[in-house]
């Protein structure tokens, strides 16, 4: 059997204290495997190290202990095999939509000109931004900027997508729209997705499996397969009995962690 796309083996992450700040144990003994083409959501209270998991897979720094592997190889440096969509806007403000999406190809082909205009247009279309090719990020709404970021992450067709609360800053309606878009696109591309969110409903609606993290230090508390049929409709799925059942079960697990964190 092929190795899972992403493997974390007994990973511990300690951030050393600096001056008066105490050292922080972000993750402790986390083991996790994500199969190829699987959509996994990580849920947990704030500060439980969910984003740290993504940063480790992206290779931004090595774990204090344990091993991180991605598509069969250990992650030893910046991992360019993943597409990482961060919580924060990382669009280049001096580039238009076209140039922001194109930068991924520009870096891949090592050429400033002659990028594949058709391919860029296709991805801009995929995220529904036709007509906004020549707008700068400051001229776009929050939702549109997220779409540009999504297109930029998808265009170089990474096998693995890391998404850190990608729709966290959007309003409730727009969030639903973006979730539906993401599922539609994922239905076509079938990347492996690790999706960090603090919204349990979002996790259940999107993922094949939901991983619940404990509060700090982050440990895997439970892993729940989501057996809702695909393709899913993120709007109506919330009214199905199975969704409610899963929500109740997972919320029970999550609630103790969230309240524990608050009482600290």
């Amino acid at each position: 059997m092929a190795e899972p796309a992403i493997v974390l083996r007994d990973v511990t992450q300690v951030f050393p204290g600096r001056g008066a700040a105490r050292e922080v144990i972000a993750l402790e003994g986390v083991s996790l495997a994500v199969a190829a083409q699987e959509f996994v959501a990580l849920v947990g209270p704030s500060g439980c190290g969910k984003s740290t998991v993504l940063n480790l897979v992206a290779g931004l720094w090595p774990p204090t202990r344990g091993e991180v592997r991605c598509t069969g190889r250990p992650v030893t440096g910046v991992n360019t095999r993943v597409g990482y969509m961060t919580q924060k806007d990382t669009l280049l403000p001096w580039r238009t939509t076209l140039a922001n999406v194109g930068i991924a190809l520009e870096l891949k082909t090592r050429r400033a000109t002659g990028w594949d205009r058709d391919r860029i247009s296709r991805y801009i279309e995929l995220v529904g931004l036709e007509g906004f090719e020549h707008h700068y990020p400051s001229q776009l709404s929050g939702g549109m900027r997220r779409r540009v970021a999504l297109a930029r992450t998808l265009i170089y067709e990474p096998e693995t997508l890391l998404m850190d609360e990608p729709f966290g800053a959007l309003d409730a309606q727009l969030k639903l729209v973006m979730q539906a878009e993401l599922l539609r696109i994922w239905g076509e591309t079938r990347n492996t997705v690790v999706f960090v969110t603090h919204d349990l409903g979002e996790a259940i609606a999107l993922a094949d499996r939901v991983v619940i993290f404990t509060g700090r230090p982050g440990q895997v508390k439970a892993v729940q397969p989501v057996d809702l049929p695909r393709p899913r409709d993120v709007f109506s799925i919330r009214f199905t009995p199975r969704y409610a059942e899963l929500y109740e079960k997972l919320w029970g697990l999550l609630q103790t962690e969230v309240t524990k964190g608050e009482s600290l």
């Binding site: 992206a58 910046v78 924060k88 990382t90 280049l92 930068i103 700068y136 400051s138 001229q139």
Partner: protein, 258 residues
């Protein structure tokens, strides 16, 4: 979408009429006061000043002075800003070196650069070179410090996101650091233009035989108040022209800032 900001002072016909009226009132009061309330030797009078200006323009005697001042500014500005950008980029990516040089640089920056004028005249003579040096030094520090801050202020998340897409160190520098610092560089250049004019004119006032600054000091020495005011008017117009030019360059080059 964000609506584009409305400029603060939109020029309508009514505003224009008011501005024109104000000029007429001020010049009228000046004209009437001169000779009646204050000696013309002290404040001259608008008609004399315009007559002097007209004479300079008609004779063509103003142009060599104007060309001299502009040449000093231009050469000094180009040298100072080029060196400033390069030094700022280099020290921006080498923070250790910047830390070592910090006391020296801060000291030099804090020193009023015009105080160097006598030294430069001693070193480079009273012609073009001494003023070019003064302008270059003035511009250098402003552009240098702005460029360095620009590189330091670069959003590390932007750099990381590009590295994840496979960018090399050089590509991160070219595609993130440099454009991101551009707005700071531009800011430095914008401020510098005014100081470049100041430096050139000050150098000319200290010692020279040509330039608009020379015209000011020469007219003063000849007790020609109208000539002094006329030269000052030329400097005001010059400063205004540069301000407008810079504003235009900024809007066209930093479109994305909105």
């Amino acid at each position: 979408m964000r609506a584009s900001r409305r400029p603060i002072g939109e020029t309508t016909w009514a505003v224009l009429a008011c501005q024109l009226g104000l000029v007429v009132v001020v010049l009228g009061a000046w004209q009437l006061a001169s000779g009646r309330l204050v000696k013309p030797l002290w404040i001259s009078r608008p008609t004399d000043i315009f007559a002097q200006l007209w004479e300079w323009v008609a004779e063509g005697s103003l142009w060599p002075h104007l060309v001299t001042t502009l040449t000093e500014m231009l050469i000094g500005f180009v040298i100072g800003s080029a060196l400033g950008i390069v030094a700022g980029l280099v020290l921006g990516v080498l923070p250790a070196v910047a830390t070592i040089l910090n006391p020296l640089l801060t000291g030099l920056y804090a020193m009023p650069k015009v105080a160097l004028a006598p030294l430069f005249i001693l070193l480079f003579g009273i012609d073009l070179a001494s003023k070019v040096a003064l302008v270059a030094v003035t511009v250098f520090f402003l552009v240098f410090l702005n460029t360095m801050s620009g590189i330091r202020e670069v959003d590390q998340d932007l750099a990381d996101s590009l590295r994840l897409m496979g960018a090399t160190g050089g590509e991160v520098f070219r595609k993130v650091m440099v454009p991101s610092a551009a707005i700071w560089v531009f800011n430095g250049l914008r401020i510098s233009v005014r100081y470049a004019l100041t430096a050139a004119v000050y150098g000319e006032i200290i010692a020279s035989n040509q330039g608009v600054g020379f015209l000011v000091s020469y007219s003063k020495n000849a007790l020609d108040t109208a000539g002094t005011f006329a030269a000052l008017t030329v400097l005001a117009l010059l400063g205004l022209a540069f301000t407008l030019l810079v504003a235009r360059a900024e809007t066209s080059s930093l479109k994305w800032k909105i």
